[in-house]
Amino acid sequence: MKYLTSILLAIPLFAYAQKSTISGTIKDANSGEYLIGASIYNTTSSQGTTANTYGFFSLTLNHDSVSLRVSYVGFEPSVLKFYLRQDTVLNITLMGGTHLQEIEINATAEDNIHESTQMSSVDIPISHIKALPAFMGETDLIKVLQLLPGVQSGAEGSSGLYVRGGGPDQNLILLDGVPVYNAAHLFGFFSVFNTDAINHVELIKGGFPARYGGRLSSVVDISMKEGNTKKIQGEGSIGLIASRLTVEGPVNDKTSFIVSARRTYIDILARPLIKAASKGDAVAGYFFYDLNTKINHKINDRNKIYLSAYMGDDKAYARSEYKDTFGNDSYSEKNEAGIKWGNVTTALRWNKVITNKLFGNLTATYSRYRFSVFSETESDDFVGGVRRKEYVTGAYISAIRDHALKLDFDYIPSPNHYIKFGTQLINHRFSPGVFSYRDTEQRDTTFGATILNAQELYAYLEDDFLITDKLKVNAGIHASAFFVNGKTYHSFQPRISGRYLLTPLVSIKASYATMAQYIHLLTNSGIGLPTDLWVPATEKVRPEQSSISALGIAYTHKKMYEFSVEGFYKEMDGLIEYKDGASFIDIEEDWQEKVEIGKGESYGAEVFLQKKTGRVSGWIGYTLSWTNRTFENINEGKTFPYRYDRRHDLKITAAYNISKKKDLSLTWVYGTGNAVTLPNASYEGANENPQWFWNSDVKQYDGRNNYRMRNYHRLDLSYTITKVTKFGERSWSFGIYNAYSRRNPFYLDIVSKHNYQTGTQTKKFVQYSLFPIIPSIAYRFKF
């Protein structure tokens, strides 16, 4: 009774306890960039929150003395103490350093892996991405993500992502909230993301928050920098195959910009050689470029607008020219043929702080990926006083184009709740394999696959809420619908993840999420070739669906080491594969006739030990997993291992800051060999008349992906010397890819060899490798 009286007396006190909200933004003091995910934590009441993607935070506390500790990895924490009496706006800046110093271990509890409800998620500081060894000196965001547990690269050198047994199409890669459909340059050896233009990147492999949807296996959420609001500054690099330059700065006190460009010069270097070889008639080459731009304008303290764009293309081409004259007559002809592909993404965004607890975000986006094989011939003849111009162009085009409108809100009513809700409408336009022909007489003939329009609509609601001091849950629902050719698909996807603190430093975590994907990628090679076709779910080819469950333990040691172990199980349905022998360029056949629909599963465990701070940073990741596929008409309906089923996968990265001027880094990867389909026997083929002398032989395959290639392992090293001059920072970076020149398998073939001396013939399995040891050098600068 005594307790009951106490509780009854306390209720009015609780009900009438006065509260106010502290809201604002957290920025880098040097550049003015928002610090996404920065933590703000009241040590007095042990309550805190984090800044969202736009640097905004909101923390509602009782009227009392507060001691706010603001922190972000790589920055010196800041502590503010005051008495909270009324709603307060705080625009906080943190001082950063060039290297991750020991002081960063003061990061608040909210930074720690065991505190967050989110599991199966990693965010990597951009500085660490830049510190790691890079293939041919080109820092690559996707290649660093491939070094995380549960993520695989697929084939050697590829920039594909295979997350927990999923395919390369099952990753939602968002650049400033806009999906990027093909993130590969140079046939997959480089990704399209220029790290100089990136502010933040996060990879989510499971336990997806409800705000994400549309892909089965992962979310890669990349935020571009917004441009230095304090001063004009730049950085760039000159490498073996490409150079890049980024310039950013304020236009005035309310507007800032960033422009970042990169281009390869393989074509420029090779052009004189090719011209010489062709005696000046032909020019051929390959190049890629990308351009990131962003401009943001602060209308007032509550309203901001952003316009960001990405544009990148790859082109491999051959050109020839012919000119001749006979008397008064002249003849000329120009030919060009090649292959090109590229993405364009654009986002126009309006941020509004509606109240100090409610943040809104309206975004209009455009995304386009296009691939084409083209051939053009132009002739200009002057014969007998008559001029005759003719042209013929042909192109095989595959494209996907999206227009979308998105509305998102963050509502933070109290430190115990962080509610997000919103909706998006996307109009997809698919052109999966259209052949276009034009000539002087018959213009614009188009045939091949039909152009399809489809609409995708979704809405979500999620709340990250603290139930008790130990139990915190993120629960939500993602509802989506897809409209294509009069057919409607819909999906309700519950999402839940939570953590329970076993001790102040150890938590047990669990999550469950279902996902739906309404677009498919048709791929022959699985190595991310531009020929891969994006196609929608249709009446014949249903959407992909998955459910993923995970259970794990997270532990933070001395606020410096993060350790997690996770077990996961993922089921996938509606997966598509080309039928045996089908080809992407067979334009006479509808793509829907070329595919099989089936199921997949992946399960295993991941161990991750990460050190983000200090002179030595890096991680060790290990994955033990099984990934299978089952298709009714493939492998006689029997379950078979996925091509990138990898039993053991170990990755080690380390960056060592030897001194202020010297940095050393390494990565080492080891993985079980990829599954491969090989014949084990051959036998005589049959025909109606067995007495005929010729029968072709038949190769016998005991099953799909029935053998393994050799194990994969590779060591990359990098050494960087940095010098600060009065003009800025200069550095030379020396790298070695595949330092001990391991011949890693790319593909296997059976090769017959004839020995003319002995007259004997042998057949052997031959393994082809792509990259032996490759040294690189890059010069980097900042001003």
Partner: protein, 291 residues
């Protein structure tokens, strides 16, 4: 070639090759059966042994010591070895018997089994030969065959042509020269409706979309055009294949077609031999002549 000079740097990277051992268990040779049979004919079968995939040559050793027992529900049929692994029955197959099962015993290579079913011969309602001028390349010859598909049964059709050239030689003797059998490809405008969904071979026709209906199938004929007084006769055999034969032929052709394509998934060829490899499948056929 000059146009592809720019690929050279990439090709040099690809040039790293290494002979490797793949952990493939040693292959025990198995009996391979090669037999397509039809009614009103003797049954012919070739038996050979499969090879390890790394055997340097494509020579398949014949199986000469096999005992072959065919059971058709009536009397057993015996096949006799006539040389080089080829076995032949001494009686023609009874057109009224549809189901055949097979058992082969070899003292050195064990036992294999299989079975197949013959379909009814296709009902040809009419046929016509059309010769159309096709510009500078001479005439194009086409044949239209109207059939009545058997309802409720999965039918698989194939049209085989043997062309007969009849001419009088300089010695005054009349010569009859027969071409090799030629499998014709369907050329109907909407090919998918004819050959059936999922089929990529226009010489194999599924009845999925015209089950139980009358249908006209059109085929081009590519034949050597003799000049002068040569008379040409076209001997057509419209086959109705068993499903096993259809699956074997379509997958074997697909494996051949995609062989060497690094981007295509390998094709597994259909096999209905228990304990061995190959095919034992029946077909029935209807003959007609066009001159």
């Amino acid at each position: 070639m000059k146009k592809y000079f720019w690929l050279l740097p990439f090709l040099t990277l690809l040039a790293c090759e290494l002979v490797v051992d793949v952990d493939i268990p040693p292959h025990q040779p198995k009996i391979t059966i090669n037999s397509f049979f039809t009614h009103d004919s003797v049954m012919v079968m070739k038996l050979s042994l499969s090879n390890d995939i790394l055997k340097p040559d494509n020579i398949f050793d014949p199986v000469t010591d096999a005992e072959i027992i065919i059971n058709n529900g009536e009397a057993g049929i015996t096949l006799n070895h006539i040389g080089n692994g080829v076995y032949e029955s001494d009686v023609t197959l009874n057109p009224d018997v549809k189901s055949y099962s097979l058992e082969i015993n070899s003292p050195n290579h064990g036992q294999v089994k299989s079975s197949s079913t013959l379909q009814n011969a296709p009902e040809v309602l009419s046929h016509e030969l059309i010769v159309e001028p096709s510009g500078e390349f001479g005439n194009t010859t086409k044949v239209n065959v109207q059939i009545k598909d058997e309802a409720g049964i999965k039918n698989f059709y194939q049209l085989k042509l043997i062309t007969e050239y009849i001419y009088t030689g300089s010695d005054g003797v009349v010569h009859h020269q027969l071409s090799a059998p030629q499998i014709l490809q369907v050329i109907n405008e909407n090919e998918n409706e004819i050959i059936g969904e999922g089929n990529t071979d226009p010489s194999l026709i599924k009845d999925v979309l015209f089950d139980g209906k009358e249908k006209t199938l059109s085929f081009y004929i590519y034949s050597f055009q003799n000049g002068g007084d040569t008379e040409t006769k076209y001997h057509f055999y419209l086959g109705s294949l068993s499903e096993e034969m259809y699956l074997y032929k379509s997958t074997a052709q697909l494996q051949q077609r995609t062989s060497g394509d690094p981007f295509a998934q390998p094709v597994t060829v259909f096999n209905n031999i228990e304990g061995g490899y190959g095919i034992f499948a029946g077909y029935s056929q209807t003959y007609f002549l066009e001159e």
